[in-house]
């Protein structure tokens, strides 16, 4: 395999992993507060169509990303009202949100199915991009790829170095204790849930505005579910989320490469398409076997409604 193929596989891996990083880190924040939102798939789909439509009408991909963010946040707010104010069941409400988002996006997106957006140019970092093999994949990328790294760094700092992050983790571990020492549990959970939704929307918009860039019904293709699984198997730790996302992206790209080039191997294409999902989950299950790390990082109150005492 020559260096240019390796370089382009790396490049495509990073692009494919980026939406997962953004969505999964958003979910991570929501889950750290104790809210399990299974609606990521639906929020991504809404983000994708909103982003696509606004970019098409305004010609600005950045307005598109903002629209995707807003759509995701709106969906998450709806979810938050149901589970945090009305104390609805989080699992059932999240599933409903997924179904709603996927269906609604297909409905809204019908007129846009034949449209194509212009490709958004990459941003080239001078000098660094000239490094052999890794230069192009790392330093000649879409702006959102760079932003996903900034997001990663910010979230690590927020969770483990900042006071609001400490409060967030405390709320997720024991909402009743957090309430008894005076933190507004419900408000914090609202914010975390909406942040999660906003990131899911950005992830969706990345797919439709930067990645493909077109709108097809069902284009999220299970990435929302993979993002949720990533968070769990990464035992709620940002670095592992990132590793898992790139692993998924990598296997995705390699299997496409194998399918495309033929390589003379006769494997059913359906199996190859399932490979990224399978590989990601197997690897993450293996690294998350240690019960101790799970106990130390999992938000204890995840999925449980909490009603503060009056």
């Amino acid at each position: 395999m020559d260096a240019s193929i390796l370089s382009s596989i790396l490049f495509a891996t990073i692009v494919a992993g980026t939406p997962l990083i953004i969505v999964a880190l958003g979910q991570l924040i929501a889950e750290k507060s104790g809210v399990l939102n299974l609606g990521a798939e639906g929020m991504m789909a809404m983000g994708a169509i909103a982003g696509f439509a606004i970019t098409l009408h305004t010609g600005s991909p950045w307005l598109g990303v903002l629209a995707g963010m807003a759509a995701g946040a709106l969906m998450a707010s709806l979810f938050a009202i149901v589970v945090l104010t009305l104390m609805g069941n989080q699992v059932a409400s999240g599933l409903a949100l997924s179904i709603l988002g996927v269906g609604l996006s297909a409905f809204i997106g019908k007129p846009y199915e034949s449209e194509i957006l212009p490709t958004v140019g990459a941003i080239r970092v001078p000098l660094l991009a000239d490094i052999p093999i890794i230069g192009e994949p790392l330093f000649n990328q879409q702006a959102l790829v760079y932003l996903s790294w900034v997001l990663f760094g910010t979230i690590v700092w927020f969770l483990y170095r900042s006071r609001p992050g400490l409060v967030l983790r405390a709320v997720g571990e024991s909402p009743s204790s957090a309430h008894s020492i005076g933190y507004p549990v419900i408000r914090i959970r609202y914010l975390a849930t909406i942040f999660g939704g906003a990131m899911a929307g950005v992830g969706g918009a990345f797919l439709s505005v930067f990645y493909t860039p077109l709108w097809v019904e069902g284009m999220v293709a299970g990435r929302g579910w993979i993002a949720i699984a990533l968070v769990v198997f990464a035992t709620w730790r940002p670095f592992r989320v990132m590793v898992g996302a790139y692993l998924f992206g990598g296997v995705m790209v390699v299997q496409l490469f194998v399918q495309g080039s033929g390589l003379g191997i006769n494997i059913p294409s359906q199996f190859l398409s399932a490979l990224p999902y399978l590989a990601t989950i197997i690897v993450l299950v293996i690294i998350s076997r240690d019960q101790n790390t799970v106990r130390l990082n999992a938000p204890v109150s995840l999925g449980q409604p909490y009603r503060p005492e009056a």
Binding site: L166, A170, E173, S176, S177, G182, N292
Partner: protein, 517 residues
């Protein structure tokens, strides 16, 4: 006996006519009390008397429906705990409000205003812990701390806010006797420095030893104020429960019979990463005796109980021998048919199904006692059994068709205990028989256990209440860090020795114990 510190006439906190009504119960009705500067003020009452609710209102966790609260002479409405803390009110909760996956500094930081620097805070924690004799390592994760250490963290957390009033909710229920003495020293030191303390408890001896003044609550109302030093435990008990405190009669044990329970080098690695591994536990309980196991919670009691009940069977069948049969691998129902009864600590959810009727709950463990015919439930028989249980054990309830969760803790415990005792077990394993049960019911349950053993049953009691174990046991052993001490005859030991053992030090020479006094 100490008196309130100088300047003690200044009123720090005054409650007038505080009332709090929950949908089903009046938690507090027209409660008034006054706390002076530097005073240790006891709030005495049984479980459910409304002590905790009252403290929650002072601390702003709950809001009163009527009445006023004055803080240093001025009327205040405490909106939330942060407001209470800004006034100078700190609270140490009965069920700790700590976060297990965070370390000590982070836990403390969460309760402080602003954004404290964690390194400086760690130094402050060390300083305060040295000053008040509350040793704790600021960098350790809370889940790895013992219960006593957790309480220290809670106290330090309050002290760092320089409180003028410290509320302690049942602080000694989780401590060894030695730790209780240390805590009292700390509290006296604080009071001498001018901090007022509201001390909630139902333990009369502690209140007599520590508190300057006591306010007694019963059914949400104040039944009296007194100066504990001038009262007897009897007179305070009658204020608290409305009658005299019954004391169980402990008859001398008769001839011991066969071995009903034998543990042979029982070891088990806990499935729970924060659990305790059991190591080489050996014991023997004979017919006609009560063996008590003392220990601070979290030292392997839960793991031992799960192994004994059969909820977590062992690999080694011989590790547990019940009535002569190797039972280590047996499921709970096999152990029951061998003659073992079991009363778990959690009444609702493990001892009884909350939403099922008492009749159905009786059937759960009594189904082997002729309640079934060709696999069909004999409803008349099982209802008769439940009625007998209710009558014999003085269970106050609406009838055998009422759901288990409609009973108060004490009454449900009496029912569960009755259900097991009526099945005439050869061996009864009981965890925390009177946990959260009012004083009257507790005395009744203890008497029933003594009567059962006098009738020839073998009983193993695991409890965190030392007084209880000394009241009912014939022999007593201690569990610490998953290891079990040798068992001693009650007459050959005392609370001090057991207290030392509770910190795991039973292999040291007896001289160490003597030197302690």
């Amino acid at each position: 006996m100490t008196t309130a510190a100088d300047g003690g006439d200044e009123l720090r906190l005054e409650l007038n006519g505080i009332t709090k009504i929950y949908p089903s119960v009046i938690a507090n009705e027209d409660v008034s009390l006054a706390v002076k500067r530097g005073e240790i003020h006891a709030v005495l009452g049984e479980n459910g008397a409304g002590k905790s609710t009252l403290m929650k209102m002072i601390y702003g966790v709950a809001k009163p429906d009527a009445g006023e609260m004055k803080w240093e002479g001025e009327v205040v409405h405490v909106e939330n705990p942060a407001h209470a803390r800004s006034l100078g009110i700190g609270m140490v909760f009965q069920h700790f409000s700590l976060f297990e996956t965070l370390n000590v500094v982070e836990n403390v930081a969460l309760a402080l205003p602003g954004n404290p620097d964690l390194n400086k805070l760690a130094e402050q924690i060390t300083e305060v812990s040295n000053r008040y004799g509350l040793p704790v390592d600021p960098q350790r994760l809370v889940h790895a701390l013992s219960v006593g250490e957790r309480q220290r963290v809670e106290i330090i957390r309050c002290l760092l806010q320089n409180p003028k009033l410290l509320i302690m909710d049942e602080p000694t229920s989780v401590l060894t006797p030695q730790a209780v003495r240390k805590l009292f020293d700390t509290l006296r030191q604080l009071a001498a420095e001018g901090c007022s303390i509201l001390y909630i408890s139902h333990k009369l001896d502690e209140i007599q030893e520590l508190c300057h003044v006591a306010t007694v609550l019963r059914d949400g109302k104040v039944t009296g104020d007194c100066i504990p030093a001038e009262e007897t435990p009897k007179s305070m008990a009658s204020l608290m429960i409305g009658k005299e405190l019954p004391v169980p009669e402990h008859s001398v044990p008769g001839e011991l019979g066969e071995v009903r329970l034998q543990l042979n080098r029982l070891s088990r690695v806990s499935d729970d990463p924060f659990g305790t591994d059991l190591q080489d536990i050996e014991l023997e309980v004979r017919s006609g005796e009560i063996l008590g196991i003392a220990g601070v919670s979290g030292n392997g009691q839960q793991e031992l109980l799960y192994a004994l009940s059969g909820e977590e069977p062992l690999n080694d069948a011989d590790a547990i021998v019940i009535c002569g049969k190797s039972s280590g691998r047996d499921q709970p129902d096999r152990r029951r048919s061998n003659g073992m009864g079991f009363v778990p600590e959690e009444r609702l959810g493990r001892g009884a199904v909350p939403r099922m009727s008492l009749t159905e709950n009786a059937l759960l463990t009594a189904h082997q006692a002729g309640m079934l015919k060709h696999g069909m439930i004999q409803f008349d028989k099982i209802a008769a059994f439940a009625r007998k249980c209710i009558a014999d054990f003085n269970v106050k309830c609406g009838g055998e068709e009422h759901a288990a969760n409609s009973l108060s803790g004490g009454n449900l415990q009496k029912f569960i205990m009755g259900r097991e005792i009526l099945l005439a077990p050869k061996l009864l394993v009981v965890a925390q028989p009177t946990w959260g049960v009012d004083v009257g019911a507790a005395a009744f349950i203890r008497q029933e256990l003594i009567d059962l053993r006098s009738g020839g049953a073998a009983i193993l009691v695991i409890s965190e209440e030392l007084e209880e174990l000394f009241e009912i046991s014939d022999r007593i052993a201690v569990i610490a860090e998953g290891r079990l001490s040798p068992a001693k005859q009650l007459a050959d030991t005392n609370i001090d020795e057991i207290g030392v053992w509770m910190s795991g030090m039973w292999e040291q020479p007896a001289a160490g114990v003597a030197a302690h006094d």
